[in-house]
Structures are given as structure tokens and as C-alpha cells.
């Protein structure tokens, strides 16, 4: 990693990171603030659940129990629905920002620096990882303060989850040359993962589909209640790092005609 490139990358993305921080807080607040009002109206809570399509309930791992406590409610409504979308968007944006340099034609100034391609690429990735961990840490801190629960296991799961999607988006950035496709494909793969999990849980005899989906490894409510799932953490974080290693290799050997 190169410190100058890392700081530059982190600095140029600080406004986006701050906005994401606000977004995370809004997502948490929407869950935590809404719970008291809904909890006082048991009928409304039941209606809310009934209004959700069964496939959505399955896909996002929601259950009647999810809404029976503040912890379950927050983890189901915020952490299973909005938060992962926010974090995948962050990961997709980080990869897209690298592709944007190719698209805009400013990458060649970076290639003309006495910094190896892998080091430069790793610095961009490192800045994105630090930003993602800051956002996950902020989420964990918000949950701990609001609910008074130990959230370190969630921070680990959220970090591994985001690490995986950062790996996906950086691999796409190493293969493509426009930010739009990098962003869109990262989100498309995320949607596909969700779709596979939903099908696997909704259709009888189709549970094998979940084996092809890392989304099924992301279960914040379970993690918050029972502690970290080592397999999920290893697959998500290890997969993300492997994808990044592959991306760095592709980046190193790629032609970037001026």
C-alpha cells in the first residue's frame, strides 16, 4: 500500500463517507424510533407483518419472532433490509470510483507514478475497507447505545459482509472500464444472491439454491442473539479477500491504452 494514494483516496471520498454515515444513522433511527410506536399497537405490528410478501419475509430472514423485541425488530427491519443495501451500494461505489478513473481518462496520470500497480490498487481498496469498517463500527455503536446490547459480533459480520462485496466490486473494476456497469453489476449480483436465497427458502425442495448464495450467510438477528457464526465470517471475509487478490492480479496484467 502507498500512504499518499491511500490518503488521497480516503480524502477525496470523505464527503461520500460522511453522507453514508448520516445514512446509516438514519436507517438505525428509523428502526429504533419506530419500534416504540409500533410495539404499543400490537395489531398494527401484526398487520405490518401480514402486509409483507412471504418471499420477502423468507429472503430477508424475517419471522414473527423478529418483531417481538426491540433487538429483533431493529435487526430485522433495519439490518436485514436497509442496512445491507446501503453497504452494498457503498462497496459498489468504491469499485465504481476506480473504474471512473479509466472512464474519465485520468488513470494514466496514476500509472505514470513510481508506484506499482498492485500497490496503487491496494491503496484504493484499503481506503474503501477502512471507510466500510468505520460505517460498520458506527452501526455497531449506534445499536449498542440504543439497545444496550453487545454488538461486536454484528460488527464482525457486517465487516465481513461488506468486505465480500468490496471484493466483488473491485474485481469488476479490474475487468471493466466504466463506472456504471461496475456499480450496476455489483448490485445485480447482490439482487441475484437475494433471489436465490428467497427461492431456496420459498420453494419446497429448492433449498440447495442457497448453497450458491452468500446472502444466506448474512443473518444479523441470529448473530446479535447467539454470537458470531464462524463459518459465515470465514466465507464472507475470506471470499472477499480472495476476490480482491484476483482483482489485483487482473489489474496488474491489464492493458490501459491511452
Amino acid at each position: 500500500m502507498n500512504g499518499v494514494v491511500f490518503r488521497q483516496s480516503f480524502g477525496s471520498g470523505r464527503l461520500g463517507l460522511a453522507l453514508y454515515g448520516v445514512g446509516v444513522l438514519v436507517v438505525l433511527a428509523s428502526g429504533t424510533l419506530g419500534y416504540e410506536a409500533i410495539a404499543q399497537q400490537g395489531k398494527a405490528l401484526s398487520n405490518l407483518l401480514r402486509s409483507l410478501p412471504p418471499a420477502l419475509m423468507a429472503g430477508f430472514q424475517l419471522s414473527m419472532q423478529s418483531f417481538s423485541s426491540p433487538l429483533g425488530y431493529v435487526s430485522a427491519r433495519s439490518l436485514s433490509l436497509l442496512w445491507p443495501i446501503l453497504m452494498v451500494a457503498f462497496a459498489a461505489g468504491a469499485g465504481a470510483s476506480v473504474a471512473a478513473l479509466i472512464e474519465r481518462g485520468t488513470l494514466h496520470y496514476e500509472l505514470n507514478l513510481p508506484i506499482s500497480r498492485v500497490s496503487w490498487f491496494s491503496s484504493r481498496y484499503g481506503a474503501a475497507v477502512v471507510g466500510a469498517l468505520a460505517l460498520v463500527g458506527l452501526t455497531g455503536l449506534g445499536l449498542a447505545l440504543r439497545l444496550g446490547v453487545n454488538t461486536w459480533s454484528f460488527v464482525a459480520l457486517g465487516g465481513a459482509f461488506t468486505l465480500f462485496w468490496l471484493g466483488v466490486s473491485f474485481l469488476l473494476a479490474s475487468l471493466l472500464r466504466d463506472r456504471g456497469p461496475v456499480f450496476g453489476l455489483t448490485f445485480g449480483l447482490f439482487a441475484l444472491e437475494f433471489f436465490l436465497t428467497t427461492l431456496g427458502r420459498s420453494l419446497e425442495g429448492a433449498s440447495w439454491l442457497e448453497r450458491f448464495s452468500v446472502w444466506s450467510l448474512y443473518n444479523p438477528e441470529y448473530t446479535l442473539r447467539h454470537g458470531p457464526d464462524g463459518v459465515a465470517l470465514a466465507v464472507l471475509a475470506g471470499g472477499g479477500l480472495l476476490l480482491f487478490a484476483l482483482a489485483a492480479r487482473v489489474w496488474r496484467g491489464r492493458d490501459f491504452p491511452a
Partner: protein
């Protein structure tokens, strides 16, 4: 040892052949031009020398080293792209400062360059005109201590005054021992500026030689308007043709010395004399096989 060397280089992008069997040498302190129409292979040649792309076959050497995946060598090179695009959100000063820190050199020369080029460095780059962005990129090129400067159509966004200033700067750099390689689709610019030139077309080198050689090989055009019609037989002898009864066009060399005096008896009223342009030169080079003497002149 040549500062820049391409030896029998071939470059393909999937099934598209961008360069075919290119051989070029540029010596230290030379101001060398690559000229050709769009798609001739100029930018691919520069990309190979900068290490942006890898040769499919053949040998590429810059200062004796292979530029592909060679970050240490980048310290000794400086690049200016044809179409200057810069990070929108930063100011020129912020961007130049980052580039200098990452490249590991200071910005001691920046204040003088800023004054000389009247560059706007404290406004966001997205708000600058094309010419002012080009100046910021030029300051990046010139603020380091690179031994080799590689420029891809550098004057495309500059006004005539700035173009001339850049030409003067490049001449001084070459005189100071820097090697300058630049591409252009303007034959006149290359002839005015460079010691030697390579003419590229469809991925091949058509000619390498001194710019004076190139000028000699260029066919000239003489357009003459006369008071009285010129006999067709005379025009045929002079290698010309009649555009109308009193307007003739002649092509060839030594037209002013040999052909024009023979048209004076017909009352020459107006004359237009010029070079054939890049397209004409390319057609001429395609038609006329390269002479061994010219080829040997290309290998310094």
C-alpha cells in the same frame, strides 16, 4: 544506448492489429515526432513506451529498461495525454501537490511555471476551460525532473500563443538533454519542431528520417490563375491539369523554379503554392517504396 527503442514490435487488441513490426530508435536529447492520421498507431506507440500496455511481441526499451510494470522507471518519465481530463472536484494546486507527493518530488519549480504559463490553479478543475486544463496538465509534465517526456498531441487545446510557448519549452528541454517524443496529426507542426520524425499509417512505420528528408519527399501543389488559357499540351508537359480554362493545378517538386516561369507568358494573375498535407504525403509514401538511404537515416 538508445533512450527509446522499439524493435519489431507488434501490438494487438484481441483480433485488432494496432501496430505491426514497428522499429524506432530515439536518442537522448532528441525532439522526435510521430505523425499520422487518427488510427495510425501513434497513441498505441506512446502507450507502449509509457508502459500502459504490453507489447504482443518484440522489444520495448526506455532508458534501457522494459517499461511494462516498471514503477521505478516511471520516475524518469512524464506523460501528457492528448485529451486532457483531470479530477473535477480538486483544484489544480491540490492535484499537482498530490501528484508531486506521490511521485516523490517537490514543487519548487511550480511558482515559476505558474507565472510563465499564467495557469489558474486555485479553482476547481471542472470550472476551467479546455486550454486552462491543458496548462495544468502541462505544469505536471514540466514540474518534475523527468528525463523523457512523452506527449500525445499536446497542442490540440492550446491557443496559438500557448502553442508557440510549448514549442519553445520543448526545444529548450531537448537542448538541456531531455528526450522529447510527441505525436501530432499536424505535419506542419512536426516539421517546424522536430529533429526527426516517423510517419505512421495503419499501424506501420512508413518512413523514419530527418524532417528535412520528409520535406524533400513531399509533393507540392501549385494553383495558377492566368489571364489567357494555357495550352493543354504545355500543362501535360509540366505535370498539371486544367481546372477551368484559366485555372491550372500542377503537382510535383521544383514547381516555382521550373514550371511557374513557363506560365508567365499567359499572364499569371494569382498563385497559390503549398504542401500536399498529411493525407497527400501518406498517399505519396504508399505509392513510392522507401529508399534505402532514407531508411538508414531513420536509424540514428
Amino acid at each position: 544506448m538508445s533512450t527509446l527503442l522499439l524493435e519489431q514490435v507488434r501490438k494487438t487488441y484481441r483480433k485488432t492489429v494496432a501496430l505491426e513490426n514497428i522499429t524506432l530508435e530515439v536518442q537522448r536529447g532528441e525532439l522526435f515526432g510521430l505523425v499520422g492520421v487518427n488510427g495510425a498507431g501513434k497513441t498505441t506507440t506512446l502507450s507502449l513506451l509509457m508502459g500502459f500496455v504490453q507489447a504482443s511481441s518484440g522489444q520495448v526499451r526506455v532508458l534501457g529498461e522494459n517499461p511494462w510494470n516498471n514503477p521505478g522507471l516511471q520516475r524518469r518519465l512524464s506523460w501528457l495525454p492528448g485529451e486532457v481530463r483531470l479530477p473535477d472536484a480538486q483544484t489544480g494546486r491540490q492535484w499537482l501537490s498530490y501528484q508531486a507527493r506521490a511521485a516523490g518530488h517537490g514543487l519548487e519549480r511550480l511558482p515559476a511555471l505558474e507565472r510563465e504559463w499564467e495557469a489558474v490553479l486555485d479553482r476547481p478543475l471542472r470550472t476551467l476551460s479546455k486550454g486552462n486544463r491543458q496548462k495544468v496538465a502541462l505544469l505536471r509534465l514540466l514540474s518534475g525532473n523527468a528525463e523523457v517526456l512523452i506527449l500525445d498531441e499536446p497542442t490540440s487545446g492550446l491557443d496559438p500563443v500557448a502553442q508557440e510557448r510549448l514549442h519553445e519549452t520543448l526545444r529548450k528541454l531537448a537542448q538541456a538533454g531531455r528526450t522529447v517524443l510527441f505525436s501530432s496529426h499536424s505535419l506542419a507542426e512536426v516539421q517546424a519542431l522536430c529533429d526527426r520524425v516517423a510517419v505512421l499509417d495503419r499501424g506501420q512505420v512508413l518512413q523514419v528520417g530527418r524532417t528535412s528528408d520528409l520535406e524533400r519527399r513531399q509533393e507540392r501543389t501549385l494553383k495558377v490563375w492566368t489571364r489567357d488559357p494555357v495550352p493543354l499540351e504545355l500543362l501535360t508537359v509540366l505535370g498539371g491539369e486544367a481546372e477551368s480554362a484559366r485555372h491550372a493545378v500542377l503537382r510535383g517538386n521544383h514547381l516555382l523554379e521550373d514550371a511557374l516561369p513557363r506560365l508567365f507568358p499567359y499572364g499569371v494573375e494569382q498563385v497559390h503554392y503549398g504542401g500536399e498535407g498529411l493525407e497527400g504525403l501518406l498517399a505519396h509514401l504508399h505509392d513510392a517504396p522507401l529508399e534505402p538511404s532514407v531508411l538508414s537515416g531513420g536509424r540514428a
